[in-house]
């Protein structure tokens, strides 16, 4: 696989002096799904807008499919479909005309069969003659997706696609994303719903304060950063951790009612059996046992907090 999108040392300072991007670099492989996570104002939308040609970068370079976005803007932009965060649609246009307009704008010849297929997949076919102002918010978002897909992009940007969207649409949307991935389309999405990134992305990028903190394979990231905790809840509170349990690195919690044991999920021997034996051996009575695994959210919050500290 080769990089279909290459962002090098991208900087953007807005007129007011706000530095939205401070030397962001990113390589995206063809056919992958990359989830870009970051707090509000981290530069996610500026990054996408710059790649798509809506914002002019202050410095740095971007190539899309090997084409520089400034020198060969036509070839670069033809490859890109953008689903913006805001619902920006001409209210008096019909769904059909709006989608057809997008295809034409990207220089693609008329192909009604393809547009029909896209509208059907997004459950918009029945609404094709409706004016956009008559549609619900979720339906409008579907139209934005249909417009982006209408010109058969090789790279699809989804900027917060599921913000304020109902379960049904979210399901449809991920179905479309899976189909696109199967067809070899590269997908870059920003989201606040970390569980979505967790469910759908191949790689996860974390952006904060205009810089890309890390980009890593999702599974590897979760394994590397992920920790599992075992909480041993006691029926009677204790004052201190017994000497016999000192080698486990336990933490006493819940006013002496819980012992927390952290372990590495990849380790061959977790030490749980020995610990539980020793707990019983120390004369402690177990009330309950709970395990927790850190989610991508914990990792993300940890990373961003670490950066801001």
């Amino acid at each position: 696989m080769s990089a279909i999108l290459s962002i090098r040392d991208l900087r953007k300072t807005y007129e007011g002096g706000f530095e939205a991007l401070k030397g962001a670099s990113l390589e995206i492989e063809e056919g992958e799904i990359l989830a870009l996570l970051g707090p509000n104002g981290a530069g996610k939308t500026t990054l996408i807008s710059t790649v798509c040609g809506i914002t002019t970068p202050t410095s740095g370079s971007v190539t899309v499919g090997g084409h520089d976005i400034a020198q060969e803007f036509r070839a670069a932009r033809r490859l890109i479909g953008l689903v913006p965060q805001e619902i920006n649609l001409e209210p008096f246009e019909t769904v059909w005309n709006s989608v057809r307009f997008s295809r034409g704008l990207f220089g693609k010849p008329r192909n009604d069969a393809l547009l029909e297929d896209i509208l059907k997949k997004l459950s918009l076919w029945d609404k094709r003659r409706s004016q956009i102002k008559e549609l619900s918010g979720g339906m409008k978002r579907r139209v934005l997706i249909a417009k982006a897909l209408s010109h058969e992009p090789r790279i699809l940007f989804l900027d917060e696609p599921t913000a304020g969207v109902d379960v049904e649409l979210r399901k449809d949307m991920w179905e479309v994303v899976r189909e696109l991935k199967a067809a070899g389309v590269t997908i870059i999405l920003t989201t606040h719903y970390i569980e979505e990134a967790e469910a759908i992305a191949d790689r996860v990028g974390v952006i904060t304060k205009g810089q890309i903190l890390l980009v890593e394979d999702k599974v590897a990231l979760m394994a590397r950063m992920g920790q599992k905790q075992l909480e041993v809840q006691l029926s009677e509170p204790i004052e201190a951790i017994p000497q016999a349990l000192s080698s486990y690195g336990l933490v006493l919690a819940r006013e002496g009612r819980s012992l927390i044991y952290s372990y590495d999920i990849r380790a061959e021997r977790t030490g749980i059996t020995a610990l539980l034996n020793d707990v019983a051996g120390a004369g402690l009575v177990l009330a309950d046992v709970v395990t927790r695994q850190s989610s991508l959210e914990d990792i993300f919050v940890g990373l961003v907090a670490g950066e801001q500290a």
Binding site: C52, R74, A76, R77, L82, L105
Partner: protein
């Protein structure tokens, strides 16, 4: 050239026009009729001929120009301002199109609408007065060039405007006075000598004069000067638009 994109923008803009066809058609017919009732019948009956032409007929080219200029500006400025206002401009900016293609689509559609309205007014006027057109070819040329150049100006205004008030400001404060003082309803030879000189700084004078010449064969300024003026104005607008897209002024952050 991405002609497919030009056609898409043009079709989409004309779609807006056809959605409101009745208003688009009725309002110029009605306003022209009112002008004829007021200027042609009520006032015109008390005015002698102007340069050997009945007053009712004399004002026809001016009336057409008045509507064509204001319609060109309002169509084109609204056409590009609206996508900025509702945010759909993102699609234009991220599409594989250059400034010329965007301008051709928007300005082409705005000019087409204005041309249509100009012809409707001409048709309406011919119901009220006897009209003969001395130079039909030149008449069409002047009409088309005026539609194009004022649509270009409207496009610039649409990009410049940050809100609906500003969108109305230039047409209201600059263009309407220039058109009314540009000889729409009178010949500049009717003015005191000092005002005849001053009025020559009004670019609209050249357009109306040239257009009137194509009807009646008489003009306030030489026809070649009129053509040069309108050609120069078109080039100026094009240069400004080229600069806007090169720098991204007020459209690209």
């Amino acid at each position: 050239m991405n002609w497919m994109a030009v056609a898409s923008i043009y079709r989409s803009e004309m779609g807006r026009f056809f959605r409101t066809l009745l208003q688009s058609f009725l309002s110029p017919v009605l306003s022209t009729s009112l002008y004829f009732v007021v200027f042609g019948a009520a006032i015109g009956s008390r005015i002698d001929q102007v340069e050997g032409i009945a007053y009712g007929a004399f004002i026809v080219p001016g009336l057409i120009m008045l509507s064509v200029m204001t319609q060109s500006i309002s169509n084109a400025s609204f056409g590009i301002y609206f996508p900025k206002f509702i945010g759909t401009v993102y699609e234009l900016l991220s599409a594989p199109v250059n400034f010329l293609e965007i301008v051709l689509g928007y300005v082409g559609a705005a000019a087409t609408k204005a041309l249509f309205i100009g012809l409707v007014i001409l048709g309406t006027a011919s119901l009220f007065v006897d009209l003969s057109i001395a130079h039909p070819g030149a008449m069409v040329l002047f009409l088309v060039l005026t539609c194009l150049s004022f649509s270009l100006l409207g496009f610039i205004i649409g990009i410049w405007a940050r809100n609906f008030e500003q969108l109305q400001l230039v047409p209201l404060l600059i263009v309407t006075p220039l058109v009314f003082l540009g000889g729409s309803f009178y010949s500049i030879s009717m003015l005191p000598p000092i005002w005849q000189k001053i009025t020559l700084f009004n670019p609209v004078v050249y357009l109306i004069s040239g257009f009137r010449w194509s009807f009646f064969g008489t003009s306030d300024v030489p026809v070649v000067t009129s053509l040069l003026a309108i050609g120069g104005f078109t080039c100026l607008c094009l240069a400004v638009i080229w600069w806007i897209f090169k720098t991204g002024w007020r459209i690209r952050s």
